[in-house]
């Protein structure tokens, strides 16, 4: 049953091949039995899941239910879930039970989706390896000595190890697409503003966007139909109709103009990864797409700009975690300053502290113009690169990540090396564009990700292009070794 895609589960539940309670119980059993190896969940919610499944079965029996009714998924632990611990993988929020649901959680509840639990991640989504979690690292099901990528490493590992049919995730600089690449999954980060941020714990507000990790593009399309919404509780949410993303999956790619930026194939790209991406381009050509060499000239500035803007925003976003109202508070504070200093020193891990310090520095008097203002100018240039490129192409194609999943500890002592993991994904967040990663081959038996970047609100086109690729290839059907 755990080999079924979301599309197949939807069909099976409708056909009464199995009940939601049966599917849910099956997954709960697998998690209990197998997740010791991967550590992909921080919290599982078996009782709640079965109650939701049972309610979904009643709705299914009554008929006329939303497509996803009864389908179990996992939520990244960055999304607030009412009555359930929402930790963001931080000691700071280890004791935080959210009193409300994130909008996307609410959307899925309305559809009758069952929550299996909350997945592991880098602390406050800050990391590219899932090594910064307070709850320990997550192992890549394809190679357990390697990282699953981050920050949505738990969501990726859970789906790759068939401990969830799909999972929600979030992407600030590549946190959906890079783990998707490393774990052989489909991962989509929608356009900024397409999915509500209400209830998603903020890392960098102008970059954060919720999305999906799934096994196929079709599954991503089904799940995005319910995740996307205009939300009056989020001022950056865009009032725009949500198309039916599954309706256009089978459209022909004939005449699709694909741009390949030369800057995405330079120094630092693993040659074998490059070869798989080149091969993928051939697949697209065979599907009728035309390939165009393009330039995104400010690509090399995206990592430095990102590592000013994201830390600057996070330095303010994380100020509310002060030990006063909720979250970790130090023992016996002797005065207010002591309360702040020790609560935050004890509650936050090293990477979070590093980014808060970098951000506070970049915003401080005398440095603001040199760092924050300049980074914002660079951001506009990067966005303009894409706007210009989309004048002549429909989709931009390149690698998701410079190389396959790396071993634990190999980059965690070198922040810059770690930050370069996201060199191809970060620009998309800075521009606010949708991006997607799909498997396109293997290097040393580890998956390689192909990235597609679309124009604003062109998620349907991206999913169509991804689905067509998956109709022509079988990389996405491969299962990690040892997964029954």
């Amino acid at each position: 049953m755990h080999q079924l895609t979301i599309a197949e589960l939807v069909k099976g539940l409708r056909n009464k091949d199995f009940s939601s309670v049966e599917v849910t119980q099956h997954y709960l059993d697998r998690i209990a039995r197998l997740d010791k190896v991967y550590n992909s969940y921080i919290t599982t919610t078996p009782a709640l899941a079965l109650a939701q499944a049972s309610a979904a079965d009643k709705r299914l029996a009554a008929g006329n239910t939303p497509a996803l009714c009864g389908v179990p998924i996992a939520h990244k632990d960055i999304f607030c879930t009412m009555g359930v611990r929402t930790s963001c993988a931080s000691k700071m929020l280890d004791n935080f039970i959210a009193p409300y649901n994130a909008t996307i959680v609410e959307n899925y509840l309305d559809s009758g989706v069952v929550m299996l639990g909350k997945t592991n991640m880098d602390e406050f989504a800050m990391g590219s390896s899932n090594e910064t979690s307070y709850y320990g690292p997550v192992k890549n099901p394809w190679a357990t000595d390697c990282v699953p990528g981050g920050s949505s490493g738990g969501s990726a590992a859970a789906v790759a190890a068939h401990l969830a049919p799909a999972a929600t995730a979030s992407d600030t600089g590549g946190s959906i697409r890079q783990p998707a690449a490393h774990c052989g999954l489909t991962g989509i980060k929608p356009t900024y503003g397409r999915v509500s941020r209400w209830g998603m714990i903020a890392f960098a507000s102008s970059l954060d966007q919720a999305g999906i990790l799934s096994r196929t593009a079709e599954d991503a399309a089904i799940l995005l139909n319910d995740m996307a919404s205009y939300d009056t509780k989020d001022s950056t949410s865009v009032e725009r109709d949500v198309p039916n993303y599954t309706a256009t999956l089978n459209d022909s790619l004939k005449g699709l103009r694909i741009g390949v930026p030369k800057e995405y194939f330079g120094e630092g790209l693993n040659p074998e990864t490059a070869a798989h991406v080149e091969a993928a381009i051939k697949v697209y050509e065979s599907l009728g797409a035309t390939i165009h060499s393009i330039s995104l000239p400010h690509t090399n500035l995206s990592v430095p700009a990102y590592y000013v803007i994201a830390p600057a925003e996070c330095s303010a976003n994380l100020s509310r975690l002060d030990g006063v109202r909720y979250g970790h508070r130090c023992e016996n504070p002797k005065d207010l300053n002591d309360l702040y200093m020790r609560s935050r020193s004890e509650g936050f891990g090293d990477e979070v502290k590093r980014r808060i310090l970098v951000g506070a520095y970049a915003l401080s008097a005398g440095y603001y113009d040199a760092y924050y203002s300049k980074a914002q100018k660079v951001r506009r240039l990067i966005k303009q690169d894409f706007v210009d490129a989309f004048q002549s192409v429909d989709v931009i194609l390149g690698p998701t990540s410079p190389s396959p999943a790396f071993q634990f500890g190999s980059k965690s002592k070198d922040p810059v090396a770690m930050y370069l993991e996201d060199i191809y994904t970060i620009a998309t967040n800075l521009a606010g564009l949708p991006g997607l990663s799909i498997p396109c081959g293997f290097v040393e038996n580890k998956p390689v990700g192909l990235q597609l970047i679309g124009n604003f609100f062109a998620e349907a086109q991206l999913l169509n292009a991804a689905h067509q690729f998956q109709q022509a290839t079988n990389f996405h059907q491969q299962t990690a070794p040892g997964i029954e």
């Binding site: 999304f79 607030c80 929402t86 963001c88 929020l93 935080f96 959210a98 009193p99 409300y100 994130a102 941020r197 209400w198 209830g199 998603m200 714990i201 903020a202 960098a204 507000s205 102008s206 009056t232 509780k233 989020d234 001022s235 950056t236 600057a312 925003e313 330095s315 303010a316 100020s319 509310r320 975690l321 002060d322 006063v324 109202r325 909720y326 207010l336 702040y340 506070a360 915003l363 401080s364 008097a365 603001y368 924050y372």
Partner: protein
């Protein structure tokens, strides 16, 4: 040496919106602690702000009322600092692109003196919560009901030269925001709070002296006292050869003392940057015009109307329209009595004194416009002398009923009836033959003075109820005859 005082104000005005500036929680004053703080106000993880349109409308009204440019694009920024009553660890405020740009307010200072105070800008921001330091045995409590209440902070240029001017500005501002009904004006509840920047310099010197800021004054009286005290302190320091330290000070209205709170060196680097959760707000001319059309009448326009429509003197109209409740009272009472001038006089004199003495607001006065106009009508028609009218007014304040009832039950009707008056006069003249002789023998120019004796006697005999004019006429006639 002659010193000149230089004052600039920063005024926090709480806007009278029903809900908070970035959340749907109520802004009502006086609820149990933390009962009006929702997830956004508590800054729970994952919550997001959504700007309250009404706050923009009110701020725009204010901008129009102070002749200011309206910021077509205004941007919220985060002002970062840690304090327990600031749940997010930053205050959402405006800095580089505020909603209200430069403007001005004209003051009248009496004796025909006027003063223009320039407004540097006014910006929208959220209020913080309150720290409660009593009742928690060595700990502090936090009440977040106030957190997120919308404020406009009005920043003036350093244009004021005395406490008198500063207080006149503060009162004018109070009158503007209450007339616009964008602030309830309840100073004791913190609805308006003043930070006063004060410096002194030798008269004639252009360069400004080092300033101090006295924060959080919440009454006109405290403001006046605090300015006087600080000006005196600064002059003392300078005359003793010392230097003024740039610092923030606190004034205690109970002890009448001020102290330094923090010096400039301790001040925070607030690390302002545009709030990524809130998009820039764009306001167009159409919006501004729709706000302009909705604006209630401002004190200055009302004053001109009162001169025009009711024939009040400019001064009286200015006094009455300073307080929108007084203006409304005046219009209601005048509508009934048809007597504008007399009504204005009573509002400014006897009613004003009574309300002051009993610490009551005119809109809650037990002497209603109906009761006052009842009195005014009886003065006008000659039933009451002005002296007796004061007695009747006092009886009205004691709840003894309306003017007619009191006149009836106390028999206070003015005696104008010639027959009755003649009788009184005849008795007086008969009883005082010597004085009558003296009067008749006196030269014409001495007589007026001597008449007073007879008037006094006759008034006394009528228990004050004689119509003075009629009495006078009859007396002269009889004495001369």
């Amino acid at each position: 040496m002659q010193w000149e005082t230089v004052i600039g104000l920063e005024v926090h005005v709480q806007l009278a919106t029903k809900t908070k500036i970035f959340s749907g929680a109520s802004t009502a004053f006086g609820a149990e602690p933390n009962t009006q703080a929702c997830a956004v106000d508590l800054a729970l993880p994952g919550t997001l702000p959504v700007a309250n349109e009404q706050a923009f409308r009110y701020a725009t009204m204010f901008g129009l009322a102070v002749n200011a440019e309206i910021g077509k694009r205004s941007v919220f920024e985060r002002k970062n600092y840690f304090y327990p009553d600031l749940p997010k660890g930053y205050q959402t405020t405006q800095l580089a692109e505020p909603i209200v740009g430069p403007g001005f307010v004209d003051l009248e200072l009496g004796e025909g003196r006027t003063k223009r105070v320039r407004i540097h800008h006014a910006h929208l921001e959220e209020d913080a919560g309150k720290s409660l330091h009593e009742d928690f045995a060595g700990m502090s409590g936090i009440d977040l009901n106030r957190a997120g209440t919308p404020l406009i902070e009005v920043v003036t240029e350093p244009d004021m030269r005395s406490a008198e001017e500063a207080v006149a500005f503060a009162k004018k501002l109070h009158s503007i925001v209450t007339s616009l009904e964008i602030c309830d004006g309840e100073m004791s509840q913190g609805s308006m709070r003043f930070d006063v920047n004060i410096s002194v310099r030798p008269k004639g010197q252009e360069k400004l002296g080092t300033r101090t800021e006295t924060k959080n004054l919440n009454s006109f009286k405290f403001m006046e006292e605090a300015i006087a005290l600080e000006v005196e302190r600064q002059i003392d320091v300078l005359e003793d050869g010392g230097k003024i330290k740039q610092e923030t000070r606190l004034y205690n209205g109970d002890t009448k003392k001020a102290r330094s709170m923090r010096s400039k060196e301790d001040s925070n680097d607030y690390r302002y940057f545009p709030c990524p959760d809130l998009l820039p707000v764009i306001i167009d001319d159409e919006y501004i015009e729709s706000v302009r059309k909705q604006m209630p009448e401002l004190p200055e326009a009302k004053r001109a109307r009162f001169v025009e429509q009711y024939g009040l003197s400019d001064y009286d109209a200015g006094q009455i329209t300073m307080d929108k409740f007084a203006a409304a009272y005046f219009e209601a009472a005048t509508k009934i009595s048809g007597e504008a001038k007399l009504t204005a006089n009573w509002i400014m004199a006897d009613l004003g004194a009574y309300l002051n003495r009993t610490e009551q607001r005119i809109d809650q006065s037990p002497v209603t416009p109906e009761l006052l106009s009842g009195l005014v009508v009886r003065i006008k028609d000659g039933t009451l002398s002005s002296k007796i009218a004061k007695q009747v007014f006092e009886a009205i304040t004691n709840g003894e009923g309306d003017a007619d009832t009191i006149i009836e039950t106390k028999g206070l009707k003015q005696v104008s009836d010639t027959g009755a008056l003649e009788k009184i006069i005849d008795d007086i003249l008969a009883a005082n033959t010597a004085q009558v002789e003296g009067y008749r023998a006196a030269a014409e120019d001495k007589r007026a003075k001597m008449l007073g004796f007879f008037v006094g006697q006759a008034m006394k005999a009528s228990k004050g109820q004689a119509n003075p004019q009629a009495l006078n006429e009859l007396l002269v006639k009889k004495l001369n005859g």
